[in-house]
């Protein structure tokens, strides 16, 4: 492959990662890291560092739209960012002595379970709306519950944030992964916000997108100063992703929650298979 072909391929892949990332509420690192190492033959650490830059671009590009349209929950995002940034620093600093195969196996199981759960649960207008009953103390204190306007049925929905502490702990774990693997960790955050905290799919994705950039920034500083960021690759990734998020956000705003949920479940299912293979040392890099 000539260098120019390599760069063009990377820009195209980043475009797709940007579309998928902003539509699914993930940073896209989960696509970019394997693509760069497997297809382009880039060093793993360079791939991780460069993908972190891409993750920040996806997040900032997508979040600017979601924040403008009041889809992202700023207060909830900020609350969970305490956990994700602390986790990210932990993941980047502390070397954890854990057999990666155990990690991947655990992941495959959790992700597969989430995929099944998400594909089976329905989100109708009734599910989206505020549910009666007392609110969790912390949610009330920080006023985490919010409202959003859904383009799908032109409705304004008020929703409640349940189990804030459980979501907080899981987000910390997502942050830890981000520091460790150089990904945004959206595949953990979106289910945490949607399934555990009971936030409807669209605000969950928008909030996850907002948080990912902040989390990735925490690890990106450390990777940048170690000299792992390849500027040329990063440039291609940023330009590709930037174009991609412009399309992805537009798709999400109009999409049916049901369809997004299905797409996300399919994404998790594929991820579970890849991670399962990885756990048994079948050569798929992730």
């Amino acid at each position: 492959m000539t260098p120019v072909e390599q760069l063009v391929l990377l820009a195209v892949a980043s475009f797709l990662a940007g579309v998928a990332g902003s539509y699914l509420g993930v940073g896209g690192g989960i696509f970019l890291v394997p693509f760069m190492t497997l297809v382009l033959g880039v060093d793993l650490q360079v791939a991780i560092a460069t993908s972190l830059i891409g993750v920040i671009a996806t997040s900032s590009g997508a979040a600017s739209i979601y924040v403008r349209d009041r889809l992202a929950n700023l207060r909830l995002g900020m609350f969970l960012e305490i956990a994700t940034t602390a986790g990210a620093i932990g993941g980047a600093v502390l070397a954890v002595h854990l057999d990666p195969r155990v990690l991947f196996f655990t992941f495959a199981v959790v992700v597969a379970y989430t995929a099944v759960f998400m594909s089976r649960r329905r989100e109708t207008a009734k599910d989206r709306a505020y549910r009666a009953g007392p609110e969790a103390r912390l949610s009330e204190r920080l006023a985490l519950s919010s409202i959003y306007f859904d383009h799908e049925d032109e409705g304004v929905y008020r929703y409640r944030v349940d189990r804030p502490m459980a979501g907080f702990v899981v987000s910390g774990f997502a942050g830890w992964l981000s520091g460790l693997l150089g990904i945004g960790g959206g595949f953990v955050k979106v289910p945490a916000i949607n399934v555990i905290m009971g936030v409807p799919m669209k605000p969950a994705i928008a909030t996850s997108n907002l948080m990912i950039g902040v989390t990735a920034a925490a690890s990106a500083f450390i990777y940048y100063s170690r000299g792992f960021v390849s500027p040329t690759f990063a440039a291609m990734v940023v330009v590709g992703v930037f174009t991609g998020t412009n399309l992805g956000t537009r798709l999400l705003l109009r999409a049916k929650a049901e369809r997004i949920r299905f797409a996300f479940a399919a994404f998790l299912a594929i991820l579970a298979v890849l991670m399962g293979l990885r756990a048994f040392d079948v050569g798929v890099s992730l």
Binding site: I53, I56, A57, S59, S60, G61, A63, S64, I65, V67, R68, R70, L74, R75, M78, F79, E81, I82, T85, A86, A88, I89, A92, V93, R141, L142, I147, Y148, F149, G155, V156, G213, V214, A216, A217, A218, S219, A220, F221, I222, Y224, S225, G227, V229, S230, P231, T232, A234, A235, V238, V239, F242
Partner: protein, 135 residues
Amino acid sequence: MIAPRVALDRMSRGLVALRRAVVTEVEDVNRLLSHVLRAGVLVAVGLIAFAFLLAWSGGGPVPDAAVKFRAIPSELLRLTPAGFLSLGIVVLVLTPVTSVFASLLSFAEERDRPLVFVSGIVLMNLLVSLLLGLG
């Protein structure tokens, strides 16, 4: 009993009012943050594009490794593509940090103490990672 048409009319008026409430209630913070994020990405993309233009017009080679934080100003003064490319990347990485800072300011303006505290911790975490990166 009210006629269905009147009920429908009332309901739609209620919805319009609710939607307006949603928009005005959270307008300031959201608009500010949206601008910060958008501007950060646009400036970064602009700097990167400028770096490539420089390289094509013979201003120097496109670098293999990013320039160290400390070396960026001197590279910029010499108008090298490496300097602008690295600056673009640094601007992009700083964009989410700026957005956290902007939220902190607007929460402070609204005297929303718990959220000021929460965003303060997030900002502190980010500073720690920045210091770890420099050190």
